[in-house]
């Protein structure tokens, strides 16, 4: 039973990651490989504020979001004028820098030793103790985030992002401040990734840098590429499929040593096949054109 609840909590965390990355990839038309970096930044800022400064859950969450949004500017502003592959390379660089900092700044992050004993949140006097409690909490947080992202993508802001994705030059010729809009979209996505990070940290009660690697960024991107981008249903389908399916593989009794690699092989193949035969993904809209 707890195992099922655990899967559901993980799905909530990845729904927020996938749908926020969708804002960059599916709406603005930029490939980003730095989402795990913002996920990690959120997890670490939230954790350090709670554990080192004794801040409460909500203020820590808020500051983690703001921190991730501000840090996103250090990569989005320099990469603004870059297109396609260059932009992706820059985000990839940012991902690697963030991982190096989390791993090597031992004085602050304890590096490879990780941070154990992260407190479970207590909200308005109610202490989340069991996995069941935590699931309720994650569902609520994910629902709020998904609602906000839905409103954002269906607003004039979402529409102008789509216009940039379709034809940035035409959008500029219509008087849209495309550089600023891209920076804003990027920082919103980073902020939501930070929410996932704080959720993850307080759920696992332990973090170390290996949860926030380049491979993790690639995984989050795979989730939405396979599920599809440019609408809400694509990333949801991708998240559920890519979290649930590997769990099903467990029952095939594949040795643990190769199960992880085998999963990755399946993701890799899935990306190749999707790009070849159905570039909009399972339920997405944007065809990377």
């Amino acid at each position: 039973m707890n195992y099922l609840l655990h899967i559901l909590v993980i799905i909530c965390i990845y729904l927020v990651l996938g749908l926020s990355l969708n804002l960059i990839v599916g709406y603005t038309g930029l490939l980003s490989l730095s989402h795990a970096a913002f996920y990690g930044i959120g997890a670490y800022i939230g954790t350090l504020l709670m554990m080192n400064l004794g801040l409460g859950f909500l203020p820590s969450l808020a500051l983690a979001v703001i921190g991730a949004m501000l840090l996103s500017l250090t990569i989005s502003i320099p990469s603004l004028r870059l297109k396609g592959d260059y932009f992706m390379l820059a985000t990839l660089g940012f991902q690697i820098i963030v991982f190096a900092v989390l791993y090597n700044w031992v004085g602050l992050t304890r590096g490879p030793f990780g941070i154990p004993g992260i407190p479970r949140p207590s909200l308005f006097g109610f202490q989340l103790r069991t996995v069941g409690h935590y699931l309720g909490f994650s569902v609520a947080v994910a629902a709020i985030c998904l609602g906000l992202l839905f409103l954002i993508t269906h607003s004039p802001f979402g529409r102008v992002l789509k216009a940039i994705r379709e034809d940035e030059m035409a959008a500029a010729a219509l008087g849209k401040d495309t550089p600023r809009l891209k920076v804003v979209a990027f920082s919103i996505a980073a902020g939501f990734a930070a929410v996932s990070g704080v959720l993850f940290a307080t759920y696992m009660r332990y973090i170390d840098p290996t949860s926030f690697t380049l491979m993790e960024s690639i995984f989050i991107l795979s989730v939405i590429v396979i599920g599809g981008t440019g609408n809400v249903s694509g990333p949801i389908a991708g998240t559920i499929l890519l979290i649930v399916l590997p769990e099903a593989l467990r029952f095939l009794r594949i040795p643990d040593a190769i199960a992880a690699n085998m999963r990755q092989v399946i993701y890799g193949l899935a990306i190749i096949l999707i790009m070849r035969y159905r570039p909009q993904g399972l339920l997405g809209e944007y065809r990377f054109e």
Binding site: L31, L89, I97, I218, G268, M275
Partner: protein, 293 residues
């Protein structure tokens, strides 16, 4: 201390430069961001490991066999992965994501078969040579010599041969291939074969020097791609010099800080270049013109 670090940096730079040249050859002429180049790199190292360490084939024939297979693999990747996409006019992101997918498949298959731990290609202590205050291992010297020979031959090939002329023409105008009656298919084969062999050579040399694991490909690919950007996209000499500059810089950074920050140096350099000199050291600035179409 300093001369030794410079020497180490130069050798490391030669290795990056080989990967960068292979990457640039493919990128400049096909505009494909060839992520799978990293997979080709890792696979070369593991093929050599299989032939030499597992099957006992001597180094030189094992290396030749590896490079032949890798050239073939490069061509196969183009035929199976990219060509159908190019034929359909698929966008650059689609090609890039497919390439990333293939990279993931390759390195995880390798990890499944060989495991994740580091393997030594040449166990035991390497012979070293001392020049003044500098000590170099034999593989380091071979790396430097190989780079110089390959770089000079490549430049010669680019300047003199018909293929080289096509490559340079294509770099200036990628639309040309279909228009000018060049046998596009054969041409792409040559580019992918040659580019992959360059990565293979780098992988074998680096593997002999420091050992291999499934993740060496990403580091190599990224160093290569960053080297191309430092040197300037479209400039083959730039890719080589960019690789050497990157190797030197990383080596000097180790001197100032520690080896743990090596990756970070690569990407700080990348971001500085993207910000202040996106055309690279030797590239030509033509951003505005490109934007206007």
């Amino acid at each position: 201390m300093l001369p030794q670090l410079i020497a180490n940096g130069l050798v490391m730079g030669c290795s990056y430069a080989l990967v960068a040249l292979g990457f640039a050859l493919i990128y400049n002429t096909t505009r494909t961001f060839h992520f799978a180049h990293g997979g080709v790199y890792v696979l070369s190292a593991y093929l050599l490991y299989t032939f030499r360490n597992l099957w006992g084939i001597p180094l030189v024939p094992a290396a030749i066999l590896t490079l032949l297979l890798i050239a073939f693999l490069g061509v196969a990747i183009d035929e199976v992965l990219y060509r159908p996409l190019v034929k359909r006019g698929s966008s650059q992101p689609i090609q890039m994501l497919s390439s990333l997918g293939l990279y993931i498949v390759i390195i995880n298959l390798i990890a499944m078969f060989y495991g994740n731990e580091t393997k030594m290609l040449s166990p035991g202590v390497q012979p070293t040579y001392t020049v003044g205050h500098i000590i170099l291992a034999r593989t380091q010297i071979v790396t430097a010599v190989t780079f110089v020979v390959l770089f000079v031959s490549l430049l010669f090939l680019l300047r003199k041969s018909r293929m080289g002329k096509t490559i340079r023409a294509l770099r200036d105008d990628p639309e040309l291939v279909s228009a000018s009656g060049i046998n596009a298919r054969f041409f792409r084969w040559s580019v992918f074969a040659l580019g992959s062999v360059l990565a293979g050579v780098a992988a074998i040399l680096a593997g002999l020097d420091v050992g291999i694991d499934p993740n060496i490909g990403m580091t190599a690919l990224l160093s290569g791609a960053v080297a191309v950007i430092i040197g300037g996209v479209g400039v083959f000499e730039g890719a080589a010099l960019g690789g050497i500059a990157l190797g030197l810089l990383q080596s000097l950074a180790i001197w100032q800080t520690s080896a743990r920050w090596q990756d970070m140096v690569t990407f700080v350099v990348l971001i500085v270049f993207l910000l202040f000199r996106p055309q690279g050291l030797f590239g030509i600035r033509r951003r505005a013109e490109e934007m206007a179409g």
